[in-house]
């Protein structure tokens, strides 16, 4: 600056102007006389005309706005404030555009944690395995376990008969061994039925009249009529024998008693001896050849039936462990296998596959043919070992190891223990890892075992260290996340950036609403005065009485109830804050306009015959603007604080949308606050910084607008 000035002075000197260098240089630092401001000399030699040193044209005058700017930028604090604000805005608006993460991104991490792996328990309940066409009723199905455990085992019964109350059908529960019971369905099968007599027609008898109904042969008709006449009208005495059959009259019907029984149904099982025995037997039960039969007679129809019993359901405390986890054990397989085991058979067929059963001490193994070799297929056991999720994906060897640990702990009465089991190593896809020889590789796996009793009987829970993908909550600052992650595993820095957008913008919009409302109301009040002024000022008083915080808290609760979306919430909050904030501005504007209205220049404007509009917009409003700007700048900080407070209380913007107050709210408990300082200290500092910066700028503007300040 100095150099430039001297240079231009030299140029002037060359032009022949008589200039004393010292005076001009001094001019820069000297404060000008009253009514003028420190001026930047603009040394522009007029065309040909020589300017004197004190020529007023040499001094460049500034408009009031320019002067304000000049004064403002001389204020170091104000400039600091402006720089802070510029940085904050760049940080929030540009930063969030550049930063790779967004406000609601959740970051996961893989962590080794001790987690439930499996549980083991001794299966003491009897579960039903049904045959293909099971007819067992629902009552019996649900009660089987209870019948076995409560009615049979305490008394050492091997057979227990029950009747299904809903169908009157009989079932017999039979014990095959300790673990296998069968539910037998007792059914009666008709094997033989025959007729001995039958009604073949009808008649009518009145006195001497006798009429035989149709469908009866003429021969029989005549014979009956004859017999009726012979009997002298006594129908009970009529009896006609025709073709070996005896016809009698009874109760309006012609009854034919067959000479020989007429077979209706005769199964292959019925031998002639049995048939004769049945005919000769009295009604009711009878025996023939060591078997029991039942004879029933109903209006000449004789039915002979035999009692039949078949296994409908198997109740067992066994569970089946598969050797190959890819196999699927069908109900049919289990049904047949259990019966075979219970009966002590060495093999059985199910679904046209042949299986073998090998017993070795307590262990029983079911084998099958696979690829020409006999391989173990499944194993029934009372030890139920499953993944904690209920899936059956544990190999038989591991299950056995776990069962052994369980039994050992049971015997020793241990509640918890740590045990190591050799387990098949798994690759990423969950397949076994094989070594060079194609053998499965085993790894040591450490389990902590704990006995649990949660109303379903004692069970042992196996926990081991597992890699789990979890939300990386409260992750400390790292190179990836400079300010760490918050309680929702969201990047704190990203949230500060996005939150700043809302926090800073809310301030501007709220203050804008306040200024517009306040200026209009205050302007009307001040300019028109009298009754209008009175009414508006009373409204202002009323608004001053409204306690802002409780109102906002109530509104926050109302918004919660209405489940407003976040954006609408923000808009409403801004509207409400602006609507509650205007009275201060209105008072300020009114006061200013009241005093300006009485100023001479307003009277001069009146005397000049200017319109009201011109007076308001050219003379009054421009003179109020400095105060408005100062008030607005100061208000910005206040609004940011209010918004942060509301969000901190959980009444402002809702998760996952971020504002600065909301970020602090995420560590609102005392323990979190002391532990995770890296979350709230940066954002807290930013709030302070923003408010301080706004206040610096406001102070700077106020000083700059103050006409008494000459510097």
């Amino acid at each position: 600056m100095e150099d430039k000035r001297i240079k231009s002075i030299q140029e002037l000197s060359e032009n022949g102007a008589e200039i004393q260098e010292e005076e001009i240089i001094n001019e820069e630092s000297s404060v000008c006389a009253a009514g003028t401001t420190p001026a930047e000399a603009e040394i522009t030699p007029a065309d040909g005309e020589e300017q004197k040193l004190d020529d007023a044209r040499r001094v460049k005058y500034l408009s009031p706005t320019a002067l304000v700017f000049k004064r403002f930028f001389r204020n170091k604090l104000a400039v600091t404030g402006i720089i802070i604000l510029a940085v904050l805005f760049a940080f929030c608006f540009l930063g969030s555009a550049i930063y790779p993460y967004r406000e609601a991104d959740v970051f996961m991490t893989i962590r080794e944690i001790e987690f439930d792996y499996s549980f083991a328990k001794i299966n003491e309940d009897y579960n039903n395995v049904y045959s293909e066409n099971s007819k067992t009723g629902a009552v019996i199905r649900t009660m089987t376990n209870s019948y076995i455990k409560n009615d049979m085992q305490p008394y050492g019964l091997t057979e227990f008969g029950v009747t299904d109350p809903s169908s009157d059908k009989r079932y017999v529960i039979r014990k095959l061994n300790d673990n296998i019971y069968t539910v037998n369905f007792e059914d009666f099968d008709d094997i033989l039925s025959y007729k001995t007599e039958e009604a073949v027609g009808s008649y009518t008898a009145r006195g001497s009249r006798f009429i035989v109904g149709s469908g009866v042969s003429e021969e029989l008709k005549n014979a009956l009529t004859q017999a009726f006449e012979d009997a002298g009208g006594d129908v009970l005495a009529v009896s006609v024998t025709l073709n070996g059959n005896v016809y009698t009259l009874s109760d309006g019907k012609i009854v034919c008693a067959y000479g020989e029984p007429v077979t209706v149904l005769r199964t292959d099982d019925v031998t002639d001896e049995l048939f004769e025995a049945a005919v000769s037997a009295a009604e009711g039960d009878f025996s023939h050849g060591g078997a029991d039969y039942k004879k029933a007679v109903s209006s000449g129809l004789v039915t002979v039936s035999t009692e039949k019993s078949y296994v409908d359901t198997v109740a067992t405390s066994y569970v089946f462990d598969r050797y190959d986890l890819n196999d699927v054990l069908t109900d049919n397989f289990r049904f047949n296998a259990l019966i075979a085991i219970g009966l002590g058979n060495a093999d059985f067929v199910s679904d046209s596959h042949a299986y073998g059963i090998y017993s070795e001490g307590e262990n029983t193994v079911i084998t099958c043919e696979k690829g020409g070799k006999t391989v173990p297929y499944a194993e029934p056991t009372v030890y139920s070992v499953r993944r904690y999720s209920g899936q059956d994906t544990i190999s038989v060897a591991t299950k056995k190891a776990m069962s052994a640990i369980m039994m050992e702990m049971k015997e020793e009465g241990l509640v918890s223990a740590k045990r190591t089991i050799k387990m098949e190593a798994l690759d990423e896809d969950g397949n076994y890892v094989l070594d060079e020889d194609g053998e499965i590789v085993f790894d040591d796996e450490e389990f902590s075992v704990k006995s649990e009793n949660k109303g379903m009987g004692q069970q042992f829970v196996f926990r081991n260290m597992q890699e789990k993908q979890v939300a990386d909550i409260f992750a400390a600052p790292s190179s990836e996340h400079v300010l760490g992650l918050d309680g929702n595993a969201m990047d704190v820095l990203a949230r500060i950036m996005y939150g700043g957008r809302v926090s800073l913008l809310i301030g501007f919009i709220v203050v804008f609403i306040e200024i517009i409302l306040g200026t209009i109301m205050g302007g009307i009040s001040g300019y028109f005065g009298k009754a209008v002024d009175n009414i508006i000022m009373r409204i202002v008083d009323v608004f001053y009485c409204i306690p802002t915080m409780p109102i906002l808290i109530i509104l926050g609760a109302v918004f919660d109830q209405m489940r407003l979306p976040n954006v609408e919430r923000v808009i409403w909050m801004m509207a409400v804050l602006g609507f509650l904030g205007w009275p201060g501005i209105a008072r300020l504007v009114r006061g200013q306009i009241l005093s300006l209205r009485e100023q001479d220049f307003m009277i001069a404007a009146e005397a000049s015959g200017l319109t009201s509009r011109r007076k308001i917009f050219r003379h009054l409003i421009p003179n109020v603007i400095p105060q408005l700007i100062v008030q607005a700048t100061m208000g910005l900080g206040g609004v940011i604080i209010t918004e942060s407070t509301l969000s901190f209380l959980g009444l402002g913007v809702k998760f996952p949308m971020a504002t600065w107050g909301q970020i602090i709210n995420s560590v609102s408990s005392l323990s979190e606050m002391t532990k995770y300082t890296y979350i709230w200290i940066p954002v807290g500092s930013l709030i302070c910084l923003a408010v301080i910066a706004f206040n610096f700028v406001g102070d700077g503007l106020r000083d700059a607008f103050d006409p008494k300040m000459n510097r």
Binding site: G35, R57, Y61, D600, A605, L610, R618, P622, N623
Partner: protein, 343 residues
């Protein structure tokens, strides 16, 4: 009708309009209500201007003197209809300005302008000089648009302001320069009449002389008529053709300047003129010292308003308000001492 009667009774100014007079003020009253209490009831009136009558001829200057609070400024503003009158008439070129409707008032506004005492508060601080001067020129269409710039320049030059001041703002000027801007603003509307409301009181003496001379120059150039309000008697003597002396809302004496200064008649005028300093250290001033303070205009004394401080007070002064008496020529005085002379 009441007003006409009063004037006839006072016999100061004929009811008929004289074409030579630009401004005629007839028994003008301006009372300001005093309000108090919660409901702002009017409990009384400040009688700032209490029935004054005078006239100003075209192209002349009337001085209006009196001590602070006697109603000079109120008179000046009321005759421009910046306040609403309480009673009386103000005829501007023969037309009652209080009877004008909006359109007529709009046409009247540029013809009568005002220059204020305080050059600091009379200029809007946020407008540049050109705008201050030219704003109303554009509003009233005083000159065609294409001549606007030149017109403002000429007005500024007439008022001793260089053209390059146009873009500057009021805060950059000294008091004298500001007063020139005020005068330029008034002059730009091409007025016939300017109320100069103590235009030089706030300025130092050398500047005062410049401004007074500017007023005189402009008067001869534009044929202006002034109402020059001041409490500085020597300034008034220098500029005025006629002078009115006010005391507590009354025009107590009204005469051509030379007559008034050579032969003041009213005791108040005498006391006032005895206070004019004489630039001679040897001269022994024979000052008439007025006892007591000026009474409240809200509750003026009965009879002659000046009787509480008058050295020649008679019994009648305490009860009966004196009529205005013409003492020959255009010398009017409002005092019981001269009531008989007239008769």
């Amino acid at each position: 009708m009441e007003i006409e009667n009063t004037i006839e009774k006072n016999g100061v100014i004929p009811a008929a309009h004289d074409e030579a007079n630009l401004l005629e003020v007839r028994d003008l009253k301006q009372y300001f209500p005093i309000k108090s209490g919660f409901f702002k009831r009017t409990v009384g009136y400040v009688k700032a201007v209490d029935g004054i009558s005078f006239s100003i001829k075209r192209g002349t200057t009337m001085g209006l003197v009196g001590e602070s609070g006697c109603g000079k400024t109120t008179t000046g503003r009321t005759i421009l209809r910046l306040y609403n009158k309480t009673a009386g008439q103000v005829l501007f070129g023969g037309r009652d300005i209080f009877a004008m409707n909006r359109t007529e008032l709009r046409k009247f506004r540029p013809k009568a302008q005002i220059v204020f005492q305080d050059p600091y508060s009379s200029l809007s601080p946020r407008l540049p000089v050109e705008e201050i001067i030219g704003e109303a020129v554009r509003t009233h269409g005083i000159v065609p648009k294409e001549r606007y710039g030149d017109y403002i320049t000429k007005i500024m030059e007439d008022c001793g302001l260089p053209e390059y001041y146009k873009e500057r703002y009021p805060h950059e000027f000294s008091g004298g320069q500001r007063q020139r801007i005020c005068i330029a603003r008034a002059l730009a509307l091409n007025p016939e009449f300017i109320v100069c409301d103590e235009p030089v009181s706030a300025l130092d003496v050398s500047i005062q002389a410049q401004i007074i001379n500017l007023f005189k120059d402009l008067q001869s150039e534009y044929g202006l008529t002034y109402l020059f309000i001041s409490h500085d008697l020597s300034v008034v003597e220098h500029i005025s053709d006629t002078v009115g002396v006010m005391y507590l809302g009354d025009l107590v004496e009204y005469a051509p300047t030379d007559k008034l200064f050579s032969d003041p008649r009213h005791p108040y005028t005498k006391a006032l003129f005895s206070a004019i300093p004489v630039p001679d250290p040897e001269y022994r001033m024979n000052r008439i010292i007025l006892e007591g303070a000026i009474p409240s205009p809200a509750n003026p004394p009965q009879g002659c308003k000046f009787h509480t401080r008058c050295s020649e007070c008679k019994e009648i002064c305490k009860t009966v308000a004196p009529p205005t008496v013409q003492l020959g020529g255009d010398h009017y005085v409002k005092c019981h001492l001269y009531t008989d002379e007239k008769g």
